[in-house]
């Protein structure tokens, strides 16, 4: 999941890969609310992971987002 998230951050949001670490915060990566809407859209459309932008925005770090992605993937029927 970490690599999935990293790939979206790099390919779609054009975050520099060297900036992305599990401890990086949204401020570290300069991610605003619009970026989380984009992230939510890509996760839903391309990875069948349905997480709202508000849920994503509430996460503090990249690691937190990855944990939420794992949790949501586990919820799948």
């Amino acid at each position: 999941m970490y690599e999935t998230l990293k790939k979206i951050l790099v390919d779609t949001l054009k975050v520099a890969p060297e900036q992305i670490t599990p401890d990086a915060t949204k401020d570290d990566l300069d991610l605003d609310s619009l970026a989380f809407v984009e992230l939510s859209m890509v996760l839903g459309k391309e990875h069948d992971l349905h997480i709202s932008d508000d849920e994503l925005f509430d996460m503090e770090t990249v690691g937190d987002i990855v944990a939420l992605m794992r949790e949501r993937a586990g919820d799948r029927p």
Binding site: T12, L13, K14, A16, E38, M41, K45
Partner: protein, 403 residues
């Protein structure tokens, strides 16, 4: 007479001639068309355009920034950066710096692409960035964000007069002392399928087979314009301030005339009455008479109607016979950027004492009694006009004088 006297102290340009003032001016002086077959218009009625070559937005602006900008804003930001490149922005009072940019339609590429997404994927597929990318006002907002300018921030839209109108509005802001510096210019990047289909359907575009000879202003065989894209930004200050600060003044904007034909949605008034009025207003600002005009950078689109009406107005109004050129023979018609790019070319013509050629002018329309440059002509220029006219009958004439 208002005695307008605004110094041009910086220039930035992105045109089909290339990125930068030097590349654009070299292309115009060379007099070779930049038009080419456009792969993105395959299957269209008209398949030629003038695109900015080798524009690598990721390299110029950074991928993180560029991905959130429509192409029109990317072009304008690069032009704005060049315009202020010689400045120490830390010395500027940011609250007194304005930005006025003209654009005819804003981010048309984004709008069209996202409309496709809406139709294919429904509303939840639409990017949250569609509005910040396509809204016309975003270009001036992004320039302000880029440099931290907190003065008046405006976008004007007068179709293909937009760039010239923006410069005129900026001059008014400076003359009224609402700002001390204004970045003014124009931009459009509308070579997207919908816009191009619209131009083709209204019969505005050239349908000649050979791209290189398609844009031919004032030629007897002209048959329409070639659409282009680009951006131009000028740094403007009151001339008295520029002189007091010992700045290099490239040229001065000494007059601005703005009028409306109030005639038709696309066709110019065949009598050209509002164009005459705009020209007279610009000359009145300058405290000059018609016989003082040495050079005109004409709107000169290469359409039947524009060139006939404009050419007749110039011949009747300026009997001293200034040397006329249309740089659209080289660049194509840059739409909302045209008036600003041509103001830059006029500044350079005045500064360097040369009139650039009108590409592809082989046989002057016999109905026109004009002296049109077909090669680079060295000529001392004290006063020049730059004409811009837009669909809807909106006209802007700038008078540009030697520094």
């Amino acid at each position: 007479m208002t005695g307008l006297d605004i110094a041009v102290t910086g220039l930035g340009l992105v045109t089909p001639g290339g990125v930068g003032v030097e590349a654009g001016w070299a292309a115009v002086r060379a007099g070779r068309s930049t038009a080419a077959r456009d792969p993105l218009l395959a299957g269209h009625e008209v398949t030629i355009s003038c695109r900015v070559p080798d524009f690598d937005a990721d390299a110029l602006l950074g991928a993180r920034r560029a991905v959130r900008l429509d192409r029109f804003t990317r072009l304008a930001l690069v032009a704005a950066r060049e315009a202020v490149a010689g400045e120490d922005l830390r010395t500027w009072d940011s609250a007194r710096v304005g930005v006025v940019i003209g654009t005819s339609a804003g981010g048309g590429e984004t709008f069209e692409r996202q409309h496709g997404v809406l139709l294919a994927d429904g509303p939840t597929g639409v990017s949250p960035l569609v509005l910040p990318m396509h809204l016309p006002n975003m270009v001036a907002g992004q320039v302000a964000i880029e440099f931290g300018f907190r003065g008046p921030n405006l976008v004007v839209s007068t179709a293909c007069a937009s760039g010239a109108t923006a410069i005129g509005v900026a001059c008014d802001l400076l003359a009224a002392r609402r700002c001390d510096v204004v970045l003014a210019g124009g931009v459009d990047a509308l070579l997207n399928p919908l816009t191009m289909a619209g131009f083709a359907r209204m019969g505005a575009l050239s349908r000649r087979d050979d791209p290189a000879t398609a844009s031919r202003p004032f030629d007897v065989d002209r048959d329409g314009f070639v659409a282009g894209e680009g951006a131009a930004v000028l740094v403007l200050r009151r001339a008295e301030d520029a002189r007091a600060d010992g700045r290099r003044v490239r040229a001065r904007v000494v007059g601005y005339g703005a009028t409306a034909d109030a005639h038709h949605i696309t066709n110019p008034d065949p009598e050209g009455r509002a164009v005459v009025a705009a020209t007279r207003a610009a000359l009145a600002d300058a405290g000059a008479s018609a016989s003082d005009v040495d050079h005109v950078n004409a709107h000169g689109t290469s359409t039947q109607l524009n060139d006939l009406v404009e050419g007749r107005v110039l011949a009747e109004l300026l009997p001293s016979g200034p040397l006329v050129t249309s740089t659209k023979g080289v660049t194509g018609h840059l739409l909302g950027a045209a008036g600003a790019a041509e103001a830059v070319f006029t500044v350079l013509a005045v500064e360097q004492g040369v009139v650039p050629p009108t590409a592809n002018l082989t046989t002057l329309d016999p109905r026109l009694d004009l002296d049109v440059a077909t090669a680079v002509v060295p000529r001392g220029i004290d006063l020049a006009l730059s004409n811009s006219f837009g669909f809807g009958g909106q006209n802007a004439v700038l008078a540009i004088a030697k520094a």
